[in-house]
């Protein structure tokens, strides 16, 4: 009986219902496709226009060329700006990672007076609008008769990067089982050896992530940099200034290059992790 009903019912499903079922099953794929398209159209655009035979302005497609990629420093000042940004980024990364990690350990591992206050205060630079932070840092430097430039920019970047490092590393420390450190102490490792052999290796992925984050935040920053860098041209400042008279295609080359470098780092990290897990 029931078999007959099933056979009879099967052909009557309308195309509308069938589409709805298909749609219901694949909704998440459709959504994912749309979301990624939205996210990656600007990247694709930037990448495509790095091959534009543009001449002065890179707004209209004029023809395919590899010359921008063969000579990325072709446009005046572009590589100078890039080197400045990388230098600032590396110095900021080193200082903010070391200082931030130390703060994260203090807050995450030790009980002291003012711990919860520090915990709250560390969020402030993240919550403060960059325009306010940038302007007040500039007035602070001027008050102390320090001229804007390379080192003031580094100091300004460290200020807001520390917060991100603390938050990232602290999360990793919080997930660390204190019994592992107790086990190390139980197995004849003194405080320093325990930190060096157990704590640090286990927190290291968090520290590495924090360092990458600090670098990209510093490399990317425009507002605070614009206030405090004076005559030093960073890559974001260069692009912003160039936008008025046409961004050279070399900027697209460098931007695409950075994107693929970041992608390569993430992929390498994934592969290493998979290997380790196996």
């Amino acid at each position: 009986m029931s078999k007959k009903i099933a056979e009879a019912a099967a052909p009557t499903i309308s195309p509308v219902i069938r589409f709805r079922r298909w749609f219901g099953r694949n909704l998440i794929r459709v959504y994912m496709f749309l979301a990624f398209t939205y996210l990656f159209i600007p990247v694709a655009y930037t990448f495509a226009f790095s091959f534009n035979d543009s001449g002065k302005s890179n707004l209209v497609w004029k023809g395919f060329t590899l010359s921008n990629w063969q000579n990325p420093c072709g446009a005046p000042e572009v590589c100078n700006a890039l080197v400045n940004s990388i230098n600032i980024g590396l110095i900021v990364t080193v200082f903010s990672t070391i200082l931030g990690t130390m703060i994260a350990f203090a807050i995450g591992r030790h009980k002291f007076r003012g711990r919860s206050t520090s915990n709250l205060l560390i969020f402030l630079p993240m919550a403060t609008p960059e325009i306010v932070l940038g302007a007040s840092l500039l007035s602070l430097f001027l008050t102390f008769h320090i001229n804007p430039g390379f080192w003031p920019t580094v100091i300004a970047h460290v200020v807001f990067c520390i917060s991100f490092v603390v938050v990232t590393v602290k999360a990793r420390i919080a997930s660390l089982d204190p019994r592992l450190e107790q086990a190390a102490m139980d197995l004849y490792a003194n405080e320093f050896q325990t930190f060096r052999r157990v704590t640090l290796p286990l927190v290291a992925p968090g520290i590495a992530g924090a360092a990458l984050l600090a670098f990209s935040l510093s490399f990317d920053d425009f507002i605070i940099t614009n206030f405090n860098s004076g005559t030093v041209i960073t890559f974001p400042k260069f692009v912003y200034t160039a936008a008025a008279r046409g961004i050279p295609a070399q900027a697209n080359v460098i931007a695409s290059g950075m994107f693929f470098l970041a992608l390569a780092i993430v992929l390498a990290g994934q592969i290493v992790n998979r290997r380790k897990a196996r």
């Binding site: 089982d177 019994r179 592992l180 086990a183 102490m185 139980d186 197995l187 004849y188 490792a189 286990l202």
Partner: protein, 382 residues
């Protein structure tokens, strides 16, 4: 490690240890000697202070008052890494970033031992997992992790090995197998093992000596058979297995025996099993020591008459009866199903009898429910 505590050997002696957390006394004036080479169990319900005691021995906590000696050496305030004591942690605490080999080698390397390879391989063979040396802890099953945690500790040949509920995370079958293996390994390596557990069966299977702890104090200490056959308190009587505790009065002596009156019926029990301090007492009999007989069957030993069978449950190896006595108390009786006698039925009028030597006596002012509400299976780790 040039510290002289690390070479200390001998009995572990805890003297009048108290550990306070604010107003709460986790351990209360506890004194204990654990002889060298023994398998010692600290048994008790959650929150009884057994884990705190273990952590103080390991050096992870410091006692508020009291001292800890290993042989002649005072180790009360020495750091964990200065003590020749290793721990198998409850969740094993294997280092997730190191291979199994490096996990086991960890203690050897810290102590600057020369022949790390040979030592690690020897202990890997002892726990029968030499093929896992290159793996990471997360790739191992719970039972394998347990053995590696054990190997990581015993490779250091500590004066004392502490086991903190080491089998708690394993399923029942694996736990039984590991109990036997642990016991075998302890004999093989000849170390002193101190085992913390809330599982009375586990403690009785493995330990030479058990200290039953309750509310920061030791209730009773002795061999598994001592504790089971001759408990001194209601807590021990109820926490280790089950007991029937019947209120009574001591009426006299007869040589090595005590004569007692239980609701008008006379029984006798050995003097050395009485822990009563005056005439009031509770007579204690384990359920499997009772025998049930119909009213007209002649019996010897202690007899309580006037029972009526209230409930019968057949559980394979034995049949469990609830027998209601004239004074309203229900007694529990376990009868082995080995004599071919037809089981009794609900409503049968019966006598209960047992051999006088199986009776123990507790103080008359005991709380007879102590230790009985907590079934070991309900308890979580501390």
């Amino acid at each position: 490690m040039s510290f002289d505590a690390s070479s200390a050997r001998g009995d572990l002696i805890l003297t009048r240890i108290t550990k306070e957390y604010g107003d709460f006394k986790a351990v209360d004036d506890l004194s204990l000697t654990i002889p060298k080479g023994s398998f010692f169990a600290l048994l008790g319900p959650s929150g009884c202070g057994k884990t705190t005691t273990l952590r103080m021995i390991a050096g992870l906590e410091e006692p508020t008052i009291g001292s800890i000696h290993l042989g002649e050496t005072d180790i009360t305030t020495t750091k964990p890494y200065q003590r020749p004591i290793n721990t198998v942690f409850q969740n094993y605490a294997l280092f997730p970033h190191l291979t199994i080999f490096e996990n086991i080698a960890f203690g050897l390397r810290r102590r600057g031992i020369k022949d790390v390879d040979a030592e690690v391989n020897k202990v890997l063979n002892l726990v029968e997992l030499p093929h896992l040396a290159g793996r990471k802890p997360t790739q191992l099953s719970g039972g394998q992790q347990q053995r590696i945690a054990l190997a990581r500790a015993i490779v250091n040949r500590p004066a004392l090995l502490l086991l903190d509920e080491p089998l708690g995370a394993l399923d029942l079958k694996l736990r039984r197998q590991m109990q036997i293996e642990l016991k075998w390994i302890q004999k093989e390596v000849g170390l002193t093992f101190v085992h913390v557990t809330h599982d009375q069966e586990e403690a009785m299977t493995m330990a030479d000596t058990i200290a039953v702890m309750n509310e920061g104090k030791i209730e009773q200490m002795g061999s598994p058979a001592d504790l089971y056959d001759n408990p001194e308190t209601a807590f021990v009587a109820n926490f280790l297995g089950q007991s029937n505790l019947i209120k009574g009065t001591i009426t006299g002596n007869d040589g090595d025996s005590i004569i007692a009156d239980l609701y008008g019926q006379k029984i006798s029990l050995p003097k050395n099993r009485s822990h009563a301090v005056d005439n009031s007492m509770y007579a204690g009999i384990r359920p499997e020591k009772f025998r049930i007989s119909l009213l007209d069957t002649p019996v010897s030993g202690n007899v309580l008459t006037g029972g009526r069978i209230e409930d019968v449950s057949y559980i394979g190896v034995s049949t469990q009866y609830q027998v209601e006595m004239p004074w309203g108390q229900e007694l529990m009786v376990f009868e082995q199903n080995d004599d071919g006698v037809a089981p009794f039925n609900k409503g049968d009028a019966v006598n209960i009898s047992w051999a006088p030597v199986f009776t123990f006596a507790l103080r008359g002012d005991e709380d007879i429910t102590a230790g009985s509400e907590v079934t070991p299976e309900d308890l979580d780790e501390e």
